[in-house]
C-alpha cells in the first residue's frame, strides 16, 4: 500500500504516538486486504466500549491512547455494558471500569451514541460514501441496505480510521468485491426474523468471500434485515449481502441447514428471563412488540435493549409506556451481547430472538438460551 508523505511521517511518529499506532494499524489492514492507498471516510463507528469485551487491557490502552488522540471524523460508538440509570446488580468494579472507558472515548471527542444500530439513529451519508464501521451488524446492514462502503472493520481498525479520518481502499470499498461470486438459495418459506437469523448464521460459516447473494427469499423487512446482518457478522467474515441471483457457486439452504444452526444455537427449551436486542431494538420492533403484548403482562422478566435515542423517540409517542405496562424493562445504551445483566450465577437460561445474542450468551456469558422468534416469545410469555 502506498502512503502519502504526511501519512509516512505520521507512521514514523512525527505526529505523536497515538497517530503512529493508528497508521500502523491502517498499514497492517491495508496489506491484509490488498489496498492500494488510504481514502478519506465520512464516518467511523467504533466498537470496544463494553468493559466485558475489552477488559483491563482495553481500559488501559484507551486511557493512554485518548490522552493525545482526537477524532478526525464523525465518530459514533457501540453500546457499553449497562444502563447507568439501572446499575442494580452491576458490580462496582464493573461500573468504575466502564466509566473509565466512556471517559476515554468522550475525551477523544466521539458522539456518545452507545448504539449498535447507528443506521437507525443518525443521518445516512450518500450512497457510495466510504465509512469505517466496526460493529459487524452495522457494517453488513450499511453495505447491504444503505449502499455505504465499509469493510467489516475491527474495534481497533475503526478507531484508527476515526483518529486519522482514513481507511484503506480495498475489498468492500471497491465495486468488484460488492458483486457476489457465491449465492445461497433458500428452498423453504421463511416465517419469522429468526429464519433470516439462521440463514445469516449459516451464510457466515459457508461463505469465505466478502459478499453473498441470497435467493429464494422475500426482500427482508428492517427487522429481518437486522437479524440477518447480525447473524452473518457473528459466524463469519462476510460483510455484505444482496438479494437475487449471484454469479458462480450456489449453496442451498434447506430446512436441514436451518435445523442444524438451530440445534447448535438453541441450548434450552425455556428460560428464566427474556432479553430482546442484539441488534438493539428500533422503533418498528418496539411498535410490533407493543402490539403483540397489548393488554397483556410478561410472565417472566423481559429486558428490552435499545439506544437512548430510540428510547427517547419511543417515549414521545407513548411506546415505552405501553411496553412498561406489559412489564417490560428498558435498558438503554447497552445490549444482550456480553451484558453483565445476565450471568450464570443469576440465570440458568434466557429466552431471546437474537441469533447473535444467543451465540454470545452461550459462548461468553455461559448461559443457555431458548432461541425463539419475537411473535412466539410474545405468545408464550405474555398473558
Amino acid at each position: 500500500m502506498e502512503l502519502a508523505r504526511d501519512e509516512e511521517e505520521a507512521l514514523a511518529g512525527k505526529k505523536g504516538e497515538a497517530l503512529a499506532s493508528a497508521y500502523r494499524i491502517l498499514v497492517a489492514i491495508g496489506e491484509a486486504t490488498g489496498a492500494s492507498k488510504l481514502v478519506p471516510i465520512k464516518w467511523a463507528h467504533v466498537s470496544g466500549v463494553n468493559y466485558n469485551t475489552i477488559g483491563d487491557a482495553g481500559v488501559q490502552f484507551l486511557d493512554r491512547f485518548s490522552s493525545t488522540a482526537r477524532v478526525a471524523v464523525k465518530t459514533t460508538v457501540n453500546p457499553m455494558g449497562y444502563d447507568r440509570d439501572h446499575p442494580e446488580g452491576i458490580p462496582e468494579k464493573f461500573q468504575e471500569k466502564q466509566a473509565s472507558i466512556v471517559q476515554s472515548y468522550e475525551r477523544m471527542g466521539v458522539t456518545p451514541s452507545f448504539t449498535c444500530t447507528p443506521y437507525e439513529v443518525f443521518d445516512i451519508p450518500d450512497k457510495g460514501a466510504p465509512v469505517s464501521f466496526a460493529e459487524s451488524n452495522a457494517a453488513v446492514f450499511s453495505n447491504s441496505l444503505l449502499g455505504l462502503m465499509t469493510n467489516k472493520e475491527s474495534a481497533l481498525s475503526a478507531l484508527a480510521s476515526s483518529v486519522t479520518g482514513k481507511a484503506p481502499l480495498s475489498d468492500l470499498r471497491l465495486e468488484e468485491a460488492r458483486s457476489p461470486k457465491v449465492g445461497i438459495e433458500a428452498d423453504f418459506k421463511f416465517e419469522s426474523e429468526l429464519d433470516y437469523g439462521l440463514l445469516g448464521y449459516f451464510a457466515g460459516k459457508a461463505v469465505k468471500e466478502s459478499s453473498v447473494a441470497f435467493s429464494g427469499i422475500a426482500r427482508p423487512s428492517t427487522i429481518e434485515a437486522k437479524a440477518l446482518s447480525a447473524a452473518i457478522g457473528t459466524s463469519g467474515s462476510c460483510g455484505m449481502f444482496t438479494i437475487g441471483q449471484g454469479r458462480g457457486e450456489k449453496i442451498s439452504f434447506t430446512r436441514k441447514e436451518a435445523k442444524a444452526a438451530m440445534d447448535e444455537l438453541s441450548t434450552a427449551q425455556d428460560g428464566d428471563v427474556i432479553t430482546l436486542g442484539s441488534p438493539q431494538l428500533g422503533m418498528n420492533e418496539l411498535d410490533l412488540l407493543a402490539k403483540l403484548t397489548e393488554g397483556k403482562k410478561f410472565t417472566k422478566r423481559c429486558m428490552i435493549f435499545c439506544s437512548r435515542a430510540i428510547h427517547g423517540q419511543a417515549a414521545k409517542v407513548g411506546l415505552t409506556g405501553r411496553l412498561e405496562r406489559s412489564g417490560a424493562e428498558f435498558m438503554c445504551d447497552s445490549c444482550t451481547c456480553f451484558t453483565p445483566y445476565v450471568t450464570k450465577e443469576k440465570y440458568d437460561s434466557v429466552v431471546s430472538n437474537s441469533v447473535k445474542g444467543t451465540y454470545y450468551m452461550n459462548n461468553f456469558n455461559k448461559v443457555k438460551v431458548a432461541l425463539k422468534d419475537i411473535r412466539t416469545i410474545a405468545k408464550e410469555y405474555a398473558e
Partner: protein, 132 residues
C-alpha cells in the same frame, strides 16, 4: 524447510512450536485471554495454548472486538510469538499490529506446516523456517 514469498502483514520475527488449524478463530469467544487457551470444545485446537506458539490458521471470524482480545493476550503474556494466516483479516492484522505480533500471509500452494514443528517467522523477509 523454508517457505518464502510470504506476505508481510505486521513486521517483526517470532519463533515457537506451530499450532496448526484449518478452522477460523473467534478470538473473543473462543480464547481465554489470561492463559491463551482455546476454550471452544468444538474447535480442533480445543485446550491448545497460543502462548509462545506460532499460530497457523486461516483467518479470524466474529466480533470486531477480537482485535482487543489479541492485544489482551499480549498484555497477559499469553500471546503467540507469531501468526501465520492463509488469508489475513482485519481483526488479526489490527490486533497484532497493536500487540507487536508479527503476521504473515502464506503464499498460494505453500507446503503444510506440521503440528508442533518449531517454526521461525521473519515477517520483514517474508519467510517461515520450519525445523523438521
Amino acid at each position: 524447510m523454508i517457505i518464502s514469498n510470504c506476505k508481510k502483514i505486521v513486521g517483526g520475527s517470532g519463533e515457537g512450536p506451530a499450532i496448526v488449524t484449518t478452522q477460523p478463530i473467534n478470538f473473543l469467544a473462543m480464547v481465554d485471554q489470561k492463559t491463551g487457551m482455546i476454550t471452544d470444545p468444538r474447535h480442533e485446537l480445543h485446550e491448545k495454548l497460543l502462548k509462545g506458539a506460532v499460530l497457523v490458521f486461516p483467518y479470524a471470524i466474529g466480533s470486531s472486538v477480537g482485535a482487543y482480545a489479541i492485544y489482551s493476550l499480549r498484555e497477559y503474556g499469553s500471546a503467540p510469538s507469531a501468526v501465520v494466516c492463509t488469508r489475513a483479516d482485519i481483526t488479526t492484522a489490527s490486533g497484532c499490529a497493536i500487540a507487536n505480533i508479527p503476521v504473515v500471509d502464506l503464499p498460494r500452494g505453500a507446503p503444510a506446516i506440521e503440528q508442533g514443528a518449531i517454526a521461525r517467522v521473519e515477517a520483514d523477509a517474508g519467510t517461515i523456517t520450519v525445523k523438521v
